[in-house]
């Protein structure tokens, strides 16, 4: 059977977000005569149905990218399409959910009132509104506190309210700015599970974070931004392959340390037990040196690279202290 051209187009996966050379400069200085580039021309595509992480230290341009996509700030150049619609098309916002970083809400409202307000603004039909609000509150586990005013909520509870308001209108695309920021390990775990659930329902998730372990757990693909510039983008496993290759060798016999150090190994001795990290290419020579020193080999293990390794390799010594693993 021959397919019509239109059918062929439909089968091609559409990018949920298609960014083409998007950039942002801000005027600074007393007279506004200096330009600071918040985001250098960025070209990026987030495919429909994927979990995409935007990584970078504070000031990398992650939030600027989100604000540009959401029309809160206006681009200095470039363009973008969200769910197939041009940037600035207000109607597309019916299908977008957004959690800002460290969200503040109208704290005179209760979660019930707040979500009802947002659902109204999103154009949720009056007949469905109560059901959707209840479902969103139940989903983030704050149904019991739905009548409590938000100024009495802890940071973790507010983050849950933030997630609830981002999904109350059942969006196709959910944008989360630092969703794990300030949460305890249990809270982070819950948000991670929720993100996975939303993705399993077919929603596209785009989130920014500087917590690399979260990105590694959740993301299909990531982009690394630093100082407003894209440093790398790709599938997590492929990116890790670029920086992996180290081998961990453990043996008994501290006399072998000088020979291994000469091969570029980083050795750490605890009593007579020595643990060393060395590049894969030096493995044969290292094993030879251990034999010659009559050391007793315990284990040889390939080291699994992490996103942190990739991150460090990409932005190296420019990395500020606040980047966490």
């Amino acid at each position: 059977m021959r397919l019509k051209p239109s059918s062929i187009i439909l089968t091609k996966p559409m990018a949920a977000i298609d960014i083409q050379g998007l950039e942002k400069s801000y005027k600074t200085g007393f007279f506004g005569n200096k330009l600071k580039q918040g985001l250098k021309p960025l070209t990026l595509a987030v495919e429909d149905g994927e979990v995409f992480g935007c990584l970078g230290p504070n000031g990398a341009g992650k939030t600027t990218t989100l604000k540009l996509l959401l029309g809160l700030v206006f681009p200095s150049g470039g363009t973008a399409r969200i769910l197939g619609r041009e940037l600035g098309d207000i109607e597309v916002k019916r299908f977008i959910g957004f959690l800002p970083e460290q969200p503040y809400f109208y704290d005179h409202l209760t979660p019930l009132e707040l979500l009802d307000y947002y659902a109204r603004l999103s154009g949720v039909d009056a007949r469905e509104r109560k059901h959707k609000v209840d479902a969103a509150l139940a989903r983030v586990g704050i149904r019991e506190s739905r009548q409590t005013q938000l100024h009495k909520f802890s940071k973790g509870m507010l983050q849950r309210v933030g997630i609830a308001q981002a999904i109350v209108h059942d969006p196709k695309l959910v944008l989360l700015d630092e969703p794990m920021s300030g949460l305890d390990p249990i809270g982070r775990r819950e948000i991670r599970d929720l993100v996975q659930e939303l993705n399993e329902e077919g929603k596209t998730i785009f989130f920014s974070t500087h917590i690399l372990s979260d990105a590694e757990t959740l993301c299909d693909r990531v982009a690394v931004l630093h100082k407003g510039e894209l440093k790398g983008v790709g599938v997590v496993e492929e990116l890790l392959r670029e920086v992996s290759g180290d081998i961990e060798v453990v043996w008994h016999g501290a006399q072998a340390i000088p020979a291994l150090s000469a091969l570029g190994a980083h050795c750490h001795a605890t009593g007579d037990v020595v643990r060393a990290l060395l590049p894969e290419r030096s493995l044969e020579a290292a094993l030879g040196a251990l034999r010659q020193s009559q050391a007793r080999l315990t284990s040889v293990t390939p080291v699994q690279a992490t996103l942190e390794d990739y991150f460090l390799a990409r932005i190296g010594e420019e990395l500020p202290n606040e980047v966490k693993s």
Binding site: L70, L72, V73, K93, P100
Partner: protein
């Protein structure tokens, strides 16, 4: 669109009420009750005049102060607290809808506040006059003009809120209210100047919102009739002026980067 405007307006009203803005009514009630009891000792004619002057001036000033103090934060506070992000970023809300909704919400708050005060005010007038007559309809006109004042000052405070900090916005708003109260005098001064100065002064005098024309408190206190023509002119003036100010507010806000 109407649904979104109504939702934003109602949320603004609800926020003001829950922020205990209406507590000013207690102060107003104490003032009016105190004044009625005190003036009850004086002769009937004077106590009525003083009570009307005091009551209507209090309704006006309480409202203007609320309009300015809430109005200057309508946009800037939302940006500072980032509550605006969840409204404008991921809801199909246009920026002009946000500005207009906030404006309507504050006007609604001020109207409810003024109407509640008016109930107390009329009760006090009835207490000192022992009756309410047809002539007292003039008092309703004065209250209507006070509401028009609120509409105008709310629009101005909102305009300042779109580009300035709350401190500067409040200074601008109070300054423009004070200058506008003497708008008629400004127009008089400008007619005395000559040449370019006269042009410039006349322009400035007519640019300033004419709050003086909206103040008929003294007139109604002395049972003088407010011409229907003035009601029409004032209504049209406030509508046109407010529309211009709100258009400017929207124009600025539409172009603003919400960093």
């Amino acid at each position: 669109m109407i649904g979104r405007l109504a939702a934003i307006a109602y949320n603004t009203f609800r926020e003001a009420v829950r922020d205990r803005v209406l507590y000013n009514l207690i102060l107003f009630a104490l003032l009016i009750v105190g004044a009625s009891v005190l003036f009850g000792q004086i002769s009937l004619e004077i106590n009525r005049i003083v009570l009307i002057n005091l009551g209507l001036t209090a309704i006006s000033l309480f409202g203007v102060v609320i309009a300015i103090f809430i109005g200057i934060g309508l946009v800037s506070k939302e940006i500072e607290k980032r509550t605006l992000y969840t409204v404008l970023a991921a809801r199909p809300v246009r920026r002009w809808e946000f500005i207009t909704g906030k404006f309507l919400g504050l006007v609604m708050t001020l109207t409810v506040n003024a109407l509640l005060m008016s109930v107390g005010f009329f009760a006090a007038v009835m207490y000192v006059s022992h009756r309410l007559g047809r002539g007292d309809l003039q008092l309703v006109t004065a209250i209507y003009f006070i509401l028009l004042q609120f509409v105008l000052i709310t629009a101005l405070a909102l305009l300042f809120s779109t580009f300035s900090t709350p401190v500067f916005s409040s200074i601008f708003a109070f300054a423009i209210f004070a200058v506008g109260t003497f708008a008629e005098d400004l127009r008089g001064f400008s007619s005395m100047a000559t040449g370019v100065t006269r042009w410039m002064m006349t322009g400035a005098a007519y640019l300033v919102p004419n709050f003086a024309a909206l103040n008929v408190i003294s007139q109604v206190a002395h049972d003088m009739v407010v011409e229907p023509k003035l009601i029409l002119l004032n209504t049209a003036y406030v509508l046109v002026y407010t529309a211009a100010v709100l258009t400017a507010a929207v124009w600025i806000f539409e172009r603003r980067n919400l960093k």
